[in-house]
């Protein structure tokens, strides 16, 4: 197995307070790594540092062995890294299909071909497949803003897969999604993981979801890695129980 993502000693502080304080880990190809921890433990900040939304105060990020620290999010996306955000981030005025085409178009051709080529960048078929895959068929032409919260959440996730990414970082994909859809979502993620050999890092508060989906789980507390291991190992770890699970 090769490491798709290697994170070494990432630090990020805001005005003297370290939100992420020396985190290192790696993710192997095909893994689904769960990232859990109490609110404010630095999960999302870590994501933002990995993905170039924030520049880390120290540390290094490698994707497929290549140093990507300080790269812009768009460049990283070009290398096959995509993400979702904690809050919904679909484009409400565009239709579902347009949202998906948008999510994939920068992976097709170059600037010139995107200007002079077909309006859909040749992605209508791929978008329709993705729509079918996430069971959004009847909504393909609706503006995304008109969808229910759960449907938008699915679309949001679907958008992250349009570019055919190697590595996807999902920030609370299950938040606010109802039970039926949750099962659906888990299903889809697992399917993509297996069929397309895509690697995932998932931040999630829904323990059931994490523990049943992920191959490995990393627990963060106060900006540091508290524990790392298989779901059952983590669940049994006394420090974790103390800090997080122990209610």
């Amino acid at each position: 197995m090769t490491a798709v993502l290697e994170v070494t000693n990432i630090r990020k502080s805001f005005g003297g307070i370290a939100a992420v304080n020396g985190v290192s880990f790696d993710v192997q190809e095909g893994e689904i790594l769960g990232l859990i921890g109490p609110n404010g433990c630095g999960k999302s900040t870590l994501f933002n540092c990995i993905l170039g939304q924030l520049s880390p105060s120290a540390g290094e990020v490698k994707v497929d062995g290549k140093v990507v620290t300080g790269m812009r999010p768009s460049e990283l996306n070009g290398l096959g890294v995509s993400r979702t955000f904690q809050l919904l981030q679909v484009f409400p005025k565009l239709s579902v299909r347009e949202n998906l085409i948008l999510a994939g178009q920068e992976h097709q051709g170059n600037m010139l071909s995107r200007l002079l080529g077909p309006s859909d960048a040749g992605l209508t078929e791929a978008a329709n497949q993705m729509i079918g895959f996430f069971k959004l068929d009847h909504l393909a032409n609706e503006p995304a803003g008109g969808l229910s919260y759960g449907q938008q959440k699915l679309l949001d996730a679907a958008m992250a897969f349009m570019g055919g990414p190697r590595l996807v970082l999902l920030d609370e994909p299950a938040g606010g999604v109802n039970l039926t859809m949750l099962a659906d979502l888990k299903d889809r993620l697992r399917a993509i993981n297996q069929e397309k050999r895509a690697t995932f890092v998932v931040i999630e508060h829904n323990m059931e979801f994490v523990m049943s989906l992920c191959t490995r789980v990393m627990v963060m507390a106060e900006g540091k890695v508290l524990a790392m291991g298989r779901p059952d190992e983590v669940r049994a770890n006394p420090a974790v129980i103390e800090a997080y699970l122990g209610h």
Binding site: P73, S74, G78, L102
Partner: protein, 331 residues
């Protein structure tokens, strides 16, 4: 749906035909106003691209019209063809627009308004002070009108067709652009730059492109403005033209393809409509704009759009209810 589409296409054809045929009987004033409308629409379309689609405020569009107009005036009065001037103006405005876009990468939208405002005033000062090039405050007069395929357009009607034809070409190009992946990227840039970036959209490049292309269209409008009025001086390209163009875009409906057409029509014809109010028309215009913005910040087409989408939502939810009912019935 298809009936509506046929209707739309039919109406479009009628309008285009009317724009070609009806003005044949117009007097010189009517033709001049229509030509002016076409030219201003082109400039406003450029700004609509920058502001309406890509969400970048520019108070410098008037300056680009000025750059285009001076390019045309200087080149054609030295015997060079207008088409050459058009090329130079596009390249020049594109390049300057690109550079002017850089602040947009660093600062928030209201600062951007001030940078472009400053640029606009600086451009005016250059037009006025660099006599050797622009003939300063006296301006350049007797600008010739072009020959198109050997056919002179000195008379108002042929020149109107030049303006109309240019508008048609620009409209097609802009329509193509906003339907292309670029247009989608511009909208993404406006709606949610952070998300756009995470989807691989190089927001820097698209921001600069939006500025540069919008500015270049300002230049295109300018190259038509010069032979239209046949006289160019610095005064019309002061900040007020930029503000006027901005209002055209906003009043018509920013981010709507037909917004600039409507906005320019209102701005160009408004003095006519409000003629009976004598000196009060600008005051009434101001009040009307404020009222409109309070009611609908996305302009006149925004009202229409809201109306249509409300109806559509109603229809859709009705449909959904029907579908749901069916689902519940079938075991």
């Amino acid at each position: 749906m298809t009936a509506a589409k046929t209707l739309k296409i039919g109406l479009g054809i009628v309008v285009i035909a009317a724009l070609i045929i009806v003005p044949m009987n117009f007097n010189r004033y009517g033709l001049f106003i229509l030509s002016q409308w076409a030219v201003m629409t082109i400039a406003a379309m450029g700004l609509n691209l920058t502001l309406g689609y890509a969400g970048q405020v520019s108070l410098a569009q008037g300056a680009f019209v000025g750059i285009g107009a001076y390019t045309a005036a200087i080149m054609t009065s030295n015997g060079l063809p207008l088409i050459g001037a058009l090329g130079v103006a596009i390249v020049l405005c594109f390049a300057i627009g690109w550079i002017l876009g850089y602040p947009a990468l660093r600062v928030q939208h209201h600062y951007l308004a001030f940078v472009t405002l400053a640029f606009s005033t600086l451009a005016f000062l250059v037009f006025r002070n660099e006599d050797w090039l622009t003939k300063g405050i006296y301006g350049i007069s007797n600008i010739p009108r072009p020959e198109i395929f050997g056919y002179p357009t000195r008379r108002p009607l042929p020149f109107y067709y030049v303006c109309l034809g240019s508008l048609a070409l620009v409209s097609l190009a802009v329509w193509w652009l906003i339907r292309s992946p670029w247009g989608r990227a511009f909208i993404a840039l406006r709606e949610n730059p952070v998300r756009a970036l995470s989807l691989g959209i190089d927001t820097r490049r698209y921001t600069l492109m939006a500025f540069a292309i919008g500015s270049a269209l300002g230049g295109v409008a300018g190259t038509l403005y010069a032979p239209l009025t046949q006289y160019v001086d610095p005064v019309p390209f002061h900040l007020s033209l930029s503000l006027d163009l901005l209002m055209m875009v906003i009043v018509g409906g920013s981010g709507f393809f037909f917004g600039p057409f409507l906005g320019a029509m209102i701005a160009v014809l408004l003095p006519e409509w409000l003629r009976f109010t004598q000196g009060y028309y600008l005051m009434l215009y101001a009040i009307a704009v404020i009222g409109l913005l309070i009611y609908s910040p996305t302009g006149i087409l925004g009202i229409l759009d809201r109306f249509i989408s409300e109806r559509r939502t109603k229809a859709a939810s009705a449909q959904r209810a029907v579908a749901k009912a069916k689902l519940e019935v079938t075991p």
